[in-house]
């Protein structure tokens, strides 16, 4: 009601709290995707074997699985490094996105000055920055966080600005007659009603964070999933490259799921929106 938002599909289905209800809901929600993945992996394995594709070109799933097994230690330690970068980089971009978005909302002058630059910054290929950042900030975690931040903050900024400015002016008028200051209106009306859109921005950012980490590691690092990819590729160790990419994909999905989970518990009222 305060801001326009697409309907959340779960809001339509009745909550079923029984165990079998949960199981069937899980199947309904994730079953099609799981089935598709299983079928795709099966087809992939079959095609590679039938066409006899060399594994340095395109390894079969079974070969990738074996690569995971034989490189378990390397993958695990690389994952640890990259997870740290993704989480901190994502948190930094959320903080930066919210701060910049709010600043743009509060001042028309700031918005006119900064918005075009922000949009322009998005058309610069981030790896270019990555190289410069590596030179300035060194080989530590700093440049990776900066690259992830550059990748992720933009959707959060845009959605924050949109969410804050989409508030029905009747709410603002009502609040003004109820002794509200500008700060009260921001804290009690604008910010909460922007949260659904802010979370949408965070989910987009979450899906970018893993790519950001890889780009960050490509230009200057000695560990992490992206770094291991750059090591495995020249050796034509394609099964390991595939295994590393798979881990990255899972990390991105997990972060996305985590954001959705936080959203569900932070703004449960958003699902009831269409009823109010």
């Amino acid at each position: 009601m305060i801001t326009e938002r697409e309907q959340v599909p779960e809001a339509v289905t009745m909550p079923d709290r029984t165990t079998s209800g949960r199981a069937s809901r899980f199947l309904r929600n994730y079953g099609p995707a799981l089935l598709l993945i299983v079928v795709a992996i099966g087809l992939w394995e079959l095609l590679i074997r039938v066409l006899d594709v060399p594994q340095y070109l395109w390894p079969a799933p079974s070969v990738v699985a074996r690569a995971v097994g034989s490189n378990a230690h390397l993958i695990l330690s690389a994952t640890g490094v990259t997870v740290r970068e993704i989480i901190f980089g994502f948190l930094i971009s959320v903080a930066a996105g919210l701060a910049i978005g709010s600043a743009l909302h509060f001042s028309k002058t700031v918005r006119r000055a900064v918005y075009p630059i922000l949009i322009a910054s998005q058309s610069v290929p981030t790896p270019v920055f990555a190289a410069i950042l590596a030179i300035v900030l060194g080989f530590g975690i700093g440049p990776k966080l900066a690259v992830i931040g550059l990748f992720c903050f933009f959707p959060i900024v845009v959605n924050t600005v949109d969410g804050l400015s989409n508030v029905d002016p009747d709410y603002i008028r009502m609040m003004r007659t109820l002794h509200a200051s500008r700060k009260d209106i921001f804290r009690k009306v604008e910010f909460p009603s922007a949260l659904p859109l802010i979370f949408s921005g965070c989910r987009i950012a979450a899906s970018y964070a893993a790519i950001g980490a890889v780009f960050g590691e490509w230009t200057g690092s000695d560990s992490g999933l992206g770094y291991e990819i750059t090591q495995a590729q020249p050796q034509l160790n394609t099964p390991l490259v595939f295994a590393l990419v798979m881990v990255l994909t899972i990390l991105a999905l997990l972060l996305f799921g985590l954001v959705s989970l936080v959203e569900r518990y932070t703004i449960p009222w958003a699902k009831r929106r269409e009823q109010t």
Binding site: D168, D170, T177, L178, H179, P192, W269, T276
Partner: protein, 255 residues
Amino acid sequence: MTMQGNGADASIQVSGVRQVFGQTVALDGIDLDIREHSRVGIVGPSGCGKSTLLFQIGGLLEPTAGSIAVGGTHVAKDRLARCALMPQKDLLLPWRTALDNACIALENLGVRKAEARNRTRPLFDRFGLEEFADQMPWQLSGGMRQRVAFLRTLMAGKDILLLDEPFAALDSITRAQMQEWLLGALEQEPKTVLLVTHDVDEALLLTHHIVVFSARPGRIVRTLETSFPRDIPRREVVTSPEFAGLKEQALEALE
């Protein structure tokens, strides 16, 4: 009473008010003199600038020409400090319980949340809403939501209420209940009330004076005095010849 105004008189003087939006004249030549604790109904067709006049009186909008005094002051900020606005939409915040929605004015004044709740809850009890205080807005019916919105308006402690078609979104049975409830509430908390409505019956039942506006540009075409004693049941009031006579005059002025 717990909810007192700031002591200055709650009268409203509007003289020669005109409002122009771009090329459109929304209001023209509006003069009104509203005494403290009187209730005035404004009836008029859609787009006649009724809501605009409420925004102007409440200090949310400066008129293009003319002057408005609320309790003797012409300053917009001071007018805003005296008036509370209740619109047609209940505008309850979906992330706050009914009680916390009603607390918002006190919170804006810097009262701590727990203290604000302690001061607001008795009002829920008094107006028969105690069992709804801790529910979320989506759990409440349209009528209940409007009642909570009214309590929220009362908790601002203002002595002038600007009601902008507060019951227009409700079905007719709920609306009739809400009108009775509002009269009861105003007996407990005397206020200066400006009620904007499409509904002539509502204006006749709830107010002492009715001002009929013309279509755009809104001008006052008729004023009527109404006074139906509260101890007579509603059905007898609305079927009485006096009521029918006043209604006819109002409807005639609206044509």
